[in-house]
Each structure stands twice: as structure tokens, then as C-alpha cells.
Symmetry: C2
Subunit: 599 residues, 2 copies
Amino acid sequence: MMNVDERIEALRKLMADRKIDVYYIPNQDDHLSEEYTADHFKCKSYMSGFTGDAGCTIITKDFAGLWTDGRYFTQAEDELKGSQVELMRMRQEGVPDPLPFVIEHTPENGLAGFDGRVVSASAALMLSKALQAKGAKIHMSEDLVNKVWKDRPAMPEERLFVLEKKYVGETAAERIAKVRKDMEDKKTDVLVLTMLEDPCWLLNVRGNDIPCTPVPYAYAMVTMKDVFYYIDAKKVPGTVAAYLKKNGVKVCAYEALAKDLAKLHKKTIWADLSTLNAELYSHIGQDNSIYNAISPIMHYRSVKNAVEIKNLKNAHVKDGAAMVKFLRYVKKNADKDMTELSAQNKLYELRAEGKDYIEPSFETIAAYQANGAMMHYTATESSFAKVYPKGFLLVDSGGTYKDGTTDITRTISLGKLTAEEKRYYTLVLKGHLALMRPHFLSGTTGNNLDILAREPMWDINIDYQCGTGHGVGHVLGVHEGVHGIRWGLPTPSRPSVPLEAGMIVTDEPGIYLPHELGIRIENELLVVKDTKNFYGQWLKFENLTYCPYDLDAIDVSLLNDVEVDQINEYHKEVRKVLTPYLSGKDLEFLKKATKKLKK
Amino acid sequence: MMNVDERIEALRKLMADRKIDVYYIPNQDDHLSEEYTADHFKCKSYMSGFTGDAGCTIITKDFAGLWTDGRYFTQAEDELKGSQVELMRMRQEGVPDPLPFVIEHTPENGLAGFDGRVVSASAALMLSKALQAKGAKIHMSEDLVNKVWKDRPAMPEERLFVLEKKYVGETAAERIAKVRKDMEDKKTDVLVLTMLEDPCWLLNVRGNDIPCTPVPYAYAMVTMKDVFYYIDAKKVPGTVAAYLKKNGVKVCAYEALAKDLAKLHKKTIWADLSTLNAELYSHIGQDNSIYNAISPIMHYRSVKNAVEIKNLKNAHVKDGAAMVKFLRYVKKNADKDMTELSAQNKLYELRAEGKDYIEPSFETIAAYQANGAMMHYTATESSFAKVYPKGFLLVDSGGTYKDGTTDITRTISLGKLTAEEKRYYTLVLKGHLALMRPHFLSGTTGNNLDILAREPMWDINIDYQCGTGHGVGHVLGVHEGVHGIRWGLPTPSRPSVPLEAGMIVTDEPGIYLPHELGIRIENELLVVKDTKNFYGQWLKFENLTYCPYDLDAIDVSLLNDVEVDQINEYHKEVRKVLTPYLSGKDLEFLKKATKKLKK
């Protein structure tokens, strides 16, 4: 097996043969999924050694760089050690973004290369235009990493299943009709669905090609008459094939989309060029016109319907019961032979006991003390820390059940804490609580609310260097939607979007001190309607997550009356909701963990 | 004199003669100033009867509408009574924006009219394009209101003066060089300055054509070689003419800009099409190319330099001393024969005692009880309320001094308050205090911070229906800059802009209950650098305004410890800063008004 530097040299040889000056290796798959992809697509990790789920690698003849964002700096520093790969800290002063770097480092009349299947049409068009200005070109017809990567994992071939109406509230026929109405409104003839979640939502099917996300690798194309579903036939069991046929859906080979796109003439095609890959785009004839916009399904997915809400609340109760059992287990075993890995496995077990459980909604993060500072740290069989009865174990986890997807973080004190540790925990909790409280007018964006959660940390000049919250899918990706709770200037990929009733956001501020500690507290919140009056429609958040905060970690002197009351109300509710699902020592633990806090 | 309905009929006749279907009458002057303009330009008021400073009037053959925003709803309801003019409440559900309304109500092959000098090039281009799609056209060569308005006020002719370097910190030559550098960076040959404040800033001159804003009606055009200043020669005294000549500035007739624009060929012209009027734009030849962007001066104006900051702090101290004298006067005389008008006049007098005082920075709002609910209410000689020793007098006022411009609001209790009144006052104060506290990273926008001030009101489902804060000019307009503290989606005219050290914002949340009460508390805040660390450059606010809050109006039970401490710290500072400027009973009053609040 080659080490990272050897891989880079092998790639540089291939680049030299083709006169490629800069080779760009994103973290994406054929559908431009970024964060969760099949192992087959982990090219940027293979070429850099960095295993985190965001970023990209860029290679030139005398430079190799790994771009990633603040959540991963500590992890990347560790993983890049010993190779020539330089860490490019995204959004830090003086660090160029990857594509501008590619442009800058492609010489006049030079060549920039990438695999056209894992770069979006919009990025490729932008690159191509910018390079043209200096007489340079792009080379996108080859996947050079594939030629270096001998033991590359194959594409997954997991099987589809149908999610019945009782889980999703609408039939595929109803959803197809909804989408066709949108196509009509936008005067489009064809809708190409490229995001992996979109065909799943439309057809009420789920798959298992990506770890922790119940989706298959598939495209769909909707016309006013037909629905074509592009998927490897091996993944479609007979019952699902029959279900699809009954719904008028035509199953086609995964690779057939390129050919079908080439057959379109004089059509108005609704496609999102930021998720349609450059290779597929190249097959669309010039006599068509493109309506370049995110698919209407993104919005439908973000705004949950009443049946989905009823179901996902149910999922959260099951999840909360598993979490309470886990909290007790961890606190009890902190002074025994526990590790991050054994704790993590215990949590997988406890969640799996829940009715209709499918899988974890993402790889559990169980990070002890300083490991918690790596926002997306994951303990593995080969690398994990032992846990001691002091300090914090940060556990960020979730489950996908047939009735919903959960995402929760608790930072658990394992023994005596320092005053500083308690102070940090309490500040994070203050931010977390503050985001739950506002009443807000329709039209309010996550950009308007972020400061509520962030302020206690900013007050001591500490930032958690990531958004405060993201949308959550319904039996789909745990990160979903264009809405979110973030600060700063909106960007095209992170626009400012008004929150609407039915949307879910996570509320997860934190404090991460590299090499020291990591604290995060996360609940999911549902946007619900409040009163409507002279000023307009008011909204507020309803809490979805039921699991105690850690009373042992709170410095009550830092809380005001509003916060103390809020914690007590929450704990009363948690106790009420979870009591029927717990017994014996777990129930005793719940009572203790939710006892009234006094100032 | 005609009443409003008669004016509308007269206009309709002129429209019919020309076959104009819809006539659009904005609130703007030739420079697209909106809020503060000479009386000559108050066409939308003349045609509707509404005297507020924002909105527009639109007339068709069977409809007359006045568009304005939430700050003015109550005032507009009152003023439109008895005429046919309908109030169109902007940004309320179901109310179309004015230009879409014009488009919608211009029939196929019809004609929409307006005076091309008071509509921006960008708006005219948009209208023209939209109407073209239905075969309709625009008619913009005539000012029809001028033909109806017999006793229309003439254009003002006030005289210029020079603001010396000790007030502004930079010479005109230095400022011109700065701007030419920007022109070079953007590869432009010509910069057209259309906003009234821009030539003032560039040349360090001020005028007096607009009440309460020290600017003359003038344009400027900058090339790499010349600076042309378009202004009525009558306004330029000999000393100022000499000063301008010495700085290489060529004074030209105000009307000459159109001709000079027509002379440009094959140039790249930097112009802001949202402040360049459609008439002027029509003179620019097609062989030029337009770089359509806000002038670089907007940013320079927003970010105050060290000399400006030193000076404006001085202005705020003088202003605070006048305000304390005023507070004592008002509280003492509430049970005597005081009116909104007499209070207002007293405040004008007290401010005028300040060294280097020029004029009020805007018309003082002294609004008693329910009048305070009209956000931009002004008592006039013919209409004002008597004041009684109970409830609130809201006073929003400011001064322009040679060393700076101020803007402050205090809501003053005149006697016994109800528990509800105290509660509302305290909630507004809580919001006001909250916006002063944050530490924030460079990149933070006003859109991120607004909720801090707004939350206490939103918590009880009340909104103040306007932004929380705006920029303040330096011896220029009291409303300045594209930055501000606002919520919701950014718009082209109210974009999201990161706050920078040197920017000023006001902090002015409020509660306005129509026909009941109005409370607003306003300080000015300066953005200053805080520490720089691992996370980046931190910023925070420094308070600029020195004037006590009203201890008689605070319900201390609604405040937490942080808030009580903050009020006490502020009052200690106010006492320290203003003591040298007050004596006798005023000083006694200051001590009482800043005494320590106990929870």
C-alpha cells in the first residue's frame, strides 16, 4: 500500500503525461453530495490522508493542499502530520478558496484537471470561463485518482425499501402531482432530480448505499407524463419494482440518464447546476433551455407535514429513552474499563432496541476531553481514548427510525469538574437555552437568530467556528435544507432563508478549545405557529428532544432566573414524557437527573 | 387653494390629454434623496395630503393611493381622512409594492408616466423593460405635478461653507486621491457623484439647501485629471470659490452635468444607477460603459476617521449637557402650561447654546402619549398637543455641530405611570441595553445583531415595525450608510453589510401602540476593535451618547443583575462626563437622575 506522498507522486506522473498543471479533487460524489458519501468517493481523503467529511485536495507539481473548515482544523493537523500535504484553513484570513486557487495556479495556456462527475456543472462552467480568460483549459474526462487507487471500494449495491403512507403522510402519486404543479408554475417541461434525497422523497422509497443515510445512488427525471428512476436494477427487489410500476414509475439503468438527457430537444429543463455534475451536463443539447434552480423538493423536504411531525416526535421519545439509559451507563462506568469506543457501541445497542429502528443517522461522536475539541471526531476500532472519571465525554449521535430521524448531543460530566469546565458548560447551556426562547415574526431567518445562541461564547471572545443549527431530514439525511442557524453574510450555498412552520433546526452551540476540551449541547427544535396579530404571523420553536442536561456540570451562579426556570420546566417535561419508557434504575436515574435546580 | 381631491382631478386631466394610464409620484428629489428633501420636491405629499417623509403616490383614472411603511401608518391614516386617497400599507400581506403596481395597472399598449428627474435610472430601466413586455411605454419628459402645483416652493439657494481639516481630519486633496485610487482599482475613467453627501465629503464643504441636513443641491464628476462641481453659482461665496479653485475643483452650473455627460465617449463611467436619475442617464451615450455601483465615498463616509471620532465625541458631550437641562425642564414644567411645541422649542434653544452648533440634525419629535405611537410625528405651529403631568413625552432629536452630528431619543415620564407603562418602558430599555453588550467577530452584520434589541418586544408579540438602528453622518445626513441594524431578508437597498470599526449605528428599539403610547430609547454606538485572537478580529460597541435613562419609569423587577449593573455603570459614566458641563439645579438633577439602581 502506498503512503500519501507516494500516491501524490503517482498522480503527478499522470498529470505530467497529460500536461495538467493543477488537479482538483473534491469531496463529492456523482450527485455532489458532500458530507455523506459512499467510501468509493473518498478521493480527497485517499489523496491527503485527512478522513474528515468536508474539504478538498488540490495537487500541483510542487504543492499538495488539503482545504477544510474550522470544524476540522484540529483533526486535520493530526492527520496530515508526516506527509507533504499542507492544511489550508478555509475562511481564515489570507487563505484563498479552493477554486480561486485552482484558477490562480493554472498558468496561462495551462490545464486544470478534475473528474467531471464529481464537480458541479456550475463550478465547471465558472472554472472554464475564468481559465479561458488566460487561455487555459479544463480536462474533465478522466478520473485520475481512480488510476492511482488500486484497492478502491466498489460502488455499493444495497436494496431499496418502501416507506408506507403511515410514515410519510402522502402517496408517491400525491407528491408527483405536487411537483408537476411546480413545474407548470415555472413553465418547465422536465425536472432532473440530482440530489440523492429528492427521488426518495418523491417516490417514498429508501435505500442503504451511504452509511447512516437511507438513500440509494439514483437519479430521477420527471416530465408531465412520465417519471424515470435511474438506479442499478440489482438494488430494486421485486416488491419495490411492483410498487414503482403501480405508481407509473419507469425504472432505468443508472447510467441511462446521460443518454436520456442527450435525447431532450427544445425543452425547458429544471436542473440545479450546483448538484448536476459537469459530465451529465455536457450531454444536454444546446437547443434546450435550462431553468437553473434548486428542485422544489428541497422545500417540501424541509417543511414537515403533520403526519411526519407526529411520527418524528415519536422517534424522539424512543431516542430520549435510549439516551437516558446511556447517560446512566456512562456515568456509572466512567471509573471502570470504559473507552470512547465501548461507550459508542453501547449507545448503538441501546438505540437499536427502539421500535422501527433502521440505523444510526450518522456515525456517533463519543469524544473524551480534548478529543471533543475536534468537532467531527470519531473514535475507531484502531484509534480511541480510554475514559476516566473526570472531565467530559461529548456524545453527538442520532438514530434513523421508520418514523423519523434524530440528532442530539449531550456533554456528560464523568466525575469532578474544574470551576472552568463548569463555567464553559454553563455558557454553552445558556446559549442553547436562549435560542429556544424567541417568538419571531414570519420572515425571520436563521441569520437573525444565531446570535442568541452564540452570544455567551462571544462575550468571552470564543467562537465555535460553525453554524449553530441545521435542518434535519425525515428518514433521510440528518443535515438537510438550505435553512439553518448561522451568522455572517449569506452565500449562494448558505443563503438567508426565512424559517417556516414545519421546519426543523438543531440548536447546538459549543465551546472547543484545541487540545483541552469540547462541549456541545444539542436539541432539535420544530418551528411552529404562535399567535397571529396586528404585526403578522408569529412563530416560535417547540422542543423535540427529550434528554436531561447535566446538572452536575452547571454553575448555577451564572444563570439568571429565566434560565433556571427554563431548565426546570424542560426537565419536568422530560421526566413526564420519558417516565413511561423507563423502569428500575434507569427511571431512578431520570428522576435524579431532572430534579429541580435552585438558584 | 385646491384640496387634495381637486389636485388629483387636475392631474387626471393632464394624464388624459397625454393618454397616460398611471402616474407615479415618488418622494424623491433629483438626487434620489428620499427622507430629507427641499420642500420643492414634496410632490407626493402635495398630491396625497400625507406629510410623512417616506412613500409615494400613484394616480390612475379611478384610483389614488399613498404607499408608506409601518413607521407612518397611524399618521397616514389621520392625514388621508376626507380625501379619496387610499393608504397602501407597504410590506403588509397582500399589498403590492409601488412599481409592480404601476406595471400591473398599465394596460397593454398603455402609458405609465413620471418625472424622469425624480426616478432613478435603474427603476426607469426596470419599468421600461417590464412595460415593453406588454407593448406599453413610459412617458418621463414632463413633471405633471408641477403643472398642477401653482404655489410650489422654489429651489433653495443657501450658501456653502468650508469644513476645516481640524474637523474632518483630511484635506480635499487627500480625499480626491483616495477616490481616484478606487477608480483605478475598478478600471473606471469617470466617477459621477449623485448622492448629495458625496461631493460634500469629497470637498470638505457643506451647504444648507435641505432643512436639518447641511448639504447643497450639487453633483460632482471626478476624472483622473479633473474634479467638476455642479452647483448654482449663487450658492458659492467668494472665499469658498477661492478654496475650491485652490484645490483644482472646477465649479460648473448645476444644469451643466447633463451636457457634460453627453460629451463622454468610450469611457467607463462609475455611476450608481439607483441614485443617478433617469433624465441624466438618458444623456449618456451608448459608446460608454457603465460600472453600476454605489460610490466609494459611501464607505468612507460610514467609517469615521480618528479625527472625526474625536470631534464627534465632543459633540455628544455638548449634546448630553443640553439634554440633561432639557430633561429637568420638562419634568419640572409638566404640570404647568407646557405643550409638545414649547418643549420642542426649549430643546432647540438649549442645543443652540453649544459651541460650533449649526442646526438641528432633523426636526425634533416631541410626542406626548398616543402621539408617540406615530414614529415620525412632528408637532407643528398649527397642530400640537398639550402635555400633562402623567404618562410619557417621547423626544427624538439631534444636533449638527461643526464637530459632529448627534441623534438621541429619550422617553420621559412626566408623572405617575401605570404598571403597564413601566413594563413597556423597561422592556424597551432591556432591548436597548442588550444591543450594547455583544462582542462580535469581524464579518458580523447588523442583520445578525438586531434580535438582541428586538427580543424583549417580540417575546410579548409586539414589533416596532422598523429597523433598530442606522448609520449617522459626520456633519452630514443623520441617516447614513448602507449598514444598519435590521432583521429579515436583506434587499438590494438594505443589504447585509459587515460592521467595521469606525462605523456608527443607532440603538433605538421601541414600543408603539397606536392611539395609546409610544416609547423609544436611542443612543448612538461606535463600532470599535476589541481583542484579536485565534478566532479573528473581535469588535464591540462603544457608547457615544451621554444622557440618563428615566429611573422613574423602570420596573426593576423585570431586570436581571447584568442589566442593573449595566444601567449603573452607564449612569456613573454619564455623571462623570457631564458634571463639568452642568451646574446648580441642572447638576443636582443629573446626580438624582443617575443615582444607583438597586434590585
